[in-house]
């Protein structure tokens, strides 16, 4: 297994760790998650949709990152989700909303909005890295990957 492949596996593992942990902690304390969603400066009418869709999307992304056939799609999806979270964090930090809500949720609740932004940017970086490595891997002809077995 080459260094690039190990790096790709580590990138996927880090993304799975984030998304699976985030979704599980939301479902394990669902009432608090509903309250925290209501605390966000978004219309409360969106809450019933968001409290189900966000953790479910996170689980789907985690699952897709496990399997080879869906991995590239999962990496693109994680990039999109992380960009959305980062834009939201940026909007909050730039005082676009009437107030700055508490940054709550799992262990991540102890992070400030600025620390959230740094974490999100790190995960955007590793998502892009994962996409590049996965695309290179997919573009490689099979005979190169299996050259040892052919010799």
């Amino acid at each position: 297994m080459s260094k690039k492949q190990v790096t790709l596996e580590c990138v996927c593992a880090l993304l799975i760790l984030l998304f699976l942990y985030a979704s599980m902690s939301k479902f394990l304390d669902f009432k608090t998650f509903i309250d925290e969603m209501n605390n966000q400066p978004l219309p409360n009418a969106w809450t019933p949709f968001l409290v189900w869709s966000i953790p479910l999307v996170e689980i789907v992304i985690s699952t897709s990152l496990i399997f080879e056939y869906t991995r590239l799609l999962g990496l693109y999806a994680s990039l999109v989700v992380m960009v959305i979270f980062t834009v939201y964090t940026g909007i909050v930090l730039l005082h676009f909303f009437p107030y700055i809500p508490c940054s709550c949720g799992g262990v991540i609740r102890h992070l400030t909005w600025s620390q959230h932004l740094i974490l999100n940017l790190f995960y955007i970086f590793i998502s892009v890295l994962g996409i590049i490595l996965q695309q290179r891997k997919s573009l490689k002809p099979n005979y190169i990957n299996n050259k040892h077995s052919l010799v």
Binding site: L20, S25, K31, M37, N38, I100, P101, S103
Partner: protein, 95 residues
């Protein structure tokens, strides 16, 4: 190759599920309170009656055994002014 891949992924999956269970709150609090300046009062429903706005203060407290313990920290209690709708008064019969 597959062995290393599945070792890394299994470790990530077990870590995430394990840490989610390990960090979940141990007790559910039926009601939360806030500091009014002179005493504690029921906070109401988050997002409906109040919001917790980022600051260095304490937004809500839990109450147990005569002690109020900070619950939602690093934020301030902001009353939204929402109150429960009063029951409609029965119509008075015109005489």
């Amino acid at each position: 190759m597959n062995k290393i891949k599945w070792t890394i992924l299994t470790f990530a999956i077990l870590c995430s599920i394990g840490s989610a269970f390990a960090t979940r709150p141990q007790a559910q609090f039926s009601s939360l309170y806030y500091w009014t300046g002179s005493g504690y009062a029921p906070a109401g429903t988050l997002g409906v009656n109040y919001i917790c706005e980022t600051s260095s203060s304490v937004c809500t407290y839990t109450y147990s055994g005569g002690v109020y313990t900070p619950y939602e920290t690093s934020s301030t209690y902001v009353n939204l002014g929402a109150t429960t709708a009063a029951k409609p008064e029965p119509k008075k019969d015109k005489k």
